[in-house]
Each structure stands twice: as C-alpha cells, then as structure tokens.
C-alpha cells in the first residue's frame, strides 16, 4: 500500500538517494505542510533566510524530548539522563543562553596541533599493511573519535567506547524515533554523564593541555557554566563532530570512488583536494536536515506559518537547488563559486567546520599517497536510515 504523500522520507529509495524527492518538493511545493504537521523547506533561498533570521528559534527537538521524558515518567520510566546530557547543547539553545555558552566555548575551541594529531591518528590506523579494508568502519568511524579524544585531552584508550555511545546518543537528533531508540539513547546519555563527570573532576585536580581542562579552568575564573552545563558541553564537543564527520568521510569517499576521473585529478594534484571537499559537502551534505521553530507569524512563498510551527529544513536539498547551482546534480570539483550551506548558517553555524575539513583533507591525501589503486568491492553501498545525518554503514575497498 503506497501513500500519495510528497514527504516520504522512509522510502527505501529515498534513503539511498534523497535527491529525487527533494527535487520534486522544490519544484512542486517548496514550503510543504507535511502529514506530520511540520513545514518542509527545500529551496536554497528560503533555507538561507530562515537560518539567518531571528524569527526562527532552535530547540524544538529538545522540547519534544523533554515532553517525552515527562510523559514516560508517568509510566515509571526514567529517561531524565537524556535531558541532563543535552541541557547545555548549544544547538538546542536560543539567546541569551546560546550566546553565553557559545562565546565561552569559542575562547578555548581551537587547537594549533590538530594537523599533527590527525596525521598521527592516520599513521596509527594504517600501521598494518593491508590489501582490503572498510573505509567506514576501519577509517571514517575511528578517525574523528580518535581526533576529538586527543583534542579534548581524553585517554586514547577510551575513544572506541565513547564512539559507540556517541553514535547512539546522536540518534536523539533524528526526526522520528521509536521507543527502543529512546531506551538506548537514555543508556548512552547515562554513560556519557558518568564518564564526563569523572573526567571533569580529574581535570580539576590535574589539568593538562586538552580542551576539557581549558574549559574547567576558564569556568573556574568566569563561572559562566553550571556544573551540569559544563559536563553537557563536554558531551556535545565529543559527539557533534562524530556522526557528521563519519557522514562527510564515508559519503565523500564513496562519491570520489564513484567518480574515478575526479579521483585521478586529485591524485595528480593534491592542491585540488580542498575545493573537492567543498563540492562533496554540497553534493551529498552530511547534515541533511535541521529543525527550527517559528517565533512569530510569518509568510513564506504565500504560506502562512504560525508562531510555534515547526520547520524541517533540508540542507541537502538546498545544496541541489538549480536556482543557485548550475548542473546541481553533477559532481563538479571546480565550481567557480560554491556557496553551499552544508554547515548551516547564522548564529548556529557549525563550530567544527575547520576540524571536519582538515580531517577529510588529510584522510584523502593519505589514501592517495599510500595506495596507487582503490576500488569499491560492491558498487551499491549500504546507507544508514538516519534522516538528519547521512552516513554509510560500510564501504569495503580493495587497495594496492
């Protein structure tokens, strides 16, 4: 039994290739009131304006989670760890809390040695000779977790555990989740709270050069964050670049392998890798969807949007809009002006864009230097069914 809905995000076809549905939505109804009652925004211009406007707030997802936690409490189910783990997440916060916490993080959120850290992680991951491996599970997944662990000053041996917790907790951001998801998300939230409470206490006693220590020290001086917010901020710094980087690296490598002539160009000239990464971000955006809630009645393309209405903003669709990008469905690494909005925009513009870019660049460089030939074993990759963040489950390659 098929439905005649325009918005059909769970269709198997959509998971493998969301762009056909997005194209239809951009053309037929770019501000679409979906069956679930939220507005689906698919055009570049609308997306860009909404992200930059003060008429739209963030936090709808968190409000929904809190409502759910309250509801399940009546059934004697305690999911309060989810709220505690996420209460300091700046992506859910509006001014003045957003401004306060974001400014606080920005004071310490930079690492001069990031290139060295990423290179040593890549050396570690490629320490054994190989002729076949999984670009997702052996490279795209561990690399961001190893890197952020080093940046935060966490013991290297913890990254695998934290990576597992992170990939569960991030599911809370997805559009539609099940009861079983909530149970797992709560477990991961609980584990993160225990872990980072302990780390914060340790860094108070014995500070080091990591960012958690810097946050702890700065907070001692300024007292900007409550203890809970500090722990929650650490959790966010760990998970924010996890699944998103896995998305960029896994879909990115897939798209490069699917366009061998581009890969050959990059092999001949490594200086083209940065612009290729910008095109990867546009062509198959890792963060496909972000949410907003309307702060006052507004009209977009003649649609009356009421205060309190929720918007599902499809970044992945905006980046394929033919009004802005010539031949939007083609993967062209030398676009003269690539104004993609893969990292969002406005006050909530991604804080980790530099980290995602440098990791992906060094990863591509390393692969090209180490291997003369890289080939996919299966032509059709297996996509995860998350809607908000687009990632591959596995991508096995033969190398020589």
């Amino acid at each position: 039994m098929a439905t005649d809905q325009l918005w059909r995000p769970f269709d198997r076809k959509h998971i493998a290739n969301p762009y056909a549905m997005y194209k239809r939505m951009r053309e037929e109804d770019p501000v679409h009131l979906s069956q679930t009652g939220e507005w689906i925004i698919t055009r570049y211009e609308d997306t860009r304006n909404i992200l930059r406007s003060n008429d739209f707030l963030v936090g709808n997802r968190f409000e929904w989670l809190k409502k759910g936690i309250g509801y399940f409490k009546y059934k004697d189910l305690d999911f309060s760890s989810i709220e505690n783990a996420m209460k300091g997440f700046i992506l859910f916060l509006n001014p003045p809390h957003h401004t306060r916490i974001r400014k606080f993080i920005q004071q310490v959120w930079n690492t001069r040695d990031v290139e060295m850290i990423v290179r040593s992680n890549l050396d570690h991951l490629f320490s054994k000779p190989t002729n076949s491996f999984d670009l997702v599970n052996d490279l795209g997944k561990p690399l961001p977790a190893m890197t952020i662990s080093r940046i935060l000053g966490l013991p290297p041996s913890d990254y695998a555990y934290l990576k597992e917790q992170g990939s569960v907790l991030i599911k809370a951001l997805d559009l539609y989740i099940s009861f079983k998801d909530i149970l797992k998300i709560n477990e991961a939230a609980k584990n993160f709270l225990v872990y980072f409470k302990k780390v914060v206490t340790e860094k108070e006693a014995t500070p080091d050069e990591g960012i958690v220590s810097k946050l702890v020290q700065l907070n001692k001086q300024e007292g900007t964050l409550s203890d809970d917010e500090l722990v929650s901020t650490c959790i966010l710094l760990f998970i924010a670049g996890e699944e998103t980087s896995i998305g960029l690296m896994s879909t990115g490598l897939y798209n490069l392998l699917a366009h061998p002539q581009v890969l050959a160009q990059l092999r001949n000239d490594h200086s083209k890798i940065p612009t290729a990464i910008e095109e990867l971000l546009r062509y198959d955006s890792p963060v496909q969807i972000v949410g907003r809630i309307t702060a006052k009645d507004v009209v977009i393309r003649n649609k009356q949007i009421k205060v309190g209405d929720t918007l599902t903003i499809c970044l992945g669709s905006a980046n394929r809009d033919a009004e802005v990008f010539e031949k939007p469905d083609e993967f062209l690494i030398d676009r003269p002006e690539n104004k993609h909005i893969a990292f969002g925009g406005g006050a909530h513009y991604c804080l980790g864009d530099w980290l995602a870019r440098i990791q992906t660049q060094l990863m591509i460089e390393t692969l090209l230097i180490r291997f003369k030939k890289i080939e996919m074993i299966n032509a059709l990759p297996e996509w995860n069914s998350n809607l908000a963040i687009r990632t591959l489950n596995s991508l096995v390659v033969k190398v020589s």
């Binding site: 039994m1 069956q35 759910g68 509801y71 539609y176 099940s178």
Partner: protein, 85 residues
C-alpha cells in the same frame, strides 16, 4: 495472520488503554490525533504493536495512515511482508 477485524480490535484495545477512552467509543474511522494521540504517545502505541506482531514499524506511518482503519491495512501488509500469509 489475524483477519482485519481482529487487528482493528487489537489497535482499539491498545488505544483505549493508553488514552482511557472507552473501547466502544472508538470508531474505525477515528484518527489517532482525534483520539488524543500525539507524536509521543504514538511512540508508545507503536512499541506495543511491534511487540504484539513482531514487526518493526516506521514512526511516520501514524501520519501516512492516520485512521484505525487505514493503519490496520498497513499493519497487515507489514506483517505479511515479513512473515508471508
């Protein structure tokens, strides 16, 4: 697989338990939202249905098939596509 009338009956029972609405007051043509089921309560109903029928359901189906009658058809189809007739 049970017939459609039985599936409808299961659905109504679960909804009656969840909402406190009297079983006999729930009609086949009622929508979940008119019965007071929002996106959070639907998650709970979905969990019970998944347990009862041994299937994995898609959360958005409550909106795609928003009445008891249409949802029962969807549920039967999901069951059959997993288990055969």
């Amino acid at each position: 697989m049970k017939n459609k009338a039985d599936v409808i009956n299961d659905l109504k029972k679960i909804i009656a338990e969840e909402t406190g609405i009297d079983l006999k007051d729930i009609q086949n043509s009622d929508s979940f939202f008119n019965l007071g089921l929002d996106s959070i309560r639907c998650i709970f109903v979905m969990e019970k249905l998944e347990g009862k029928y041994g299937v994995t359901l898609n959360p958005i189906a409550f909106w795609d098939y928003p009445t008891i009658d249409t949802y029962a058809d969807f549920l039967i189809l999901e069951y059959v596509s997993k288990n055969g007739n």
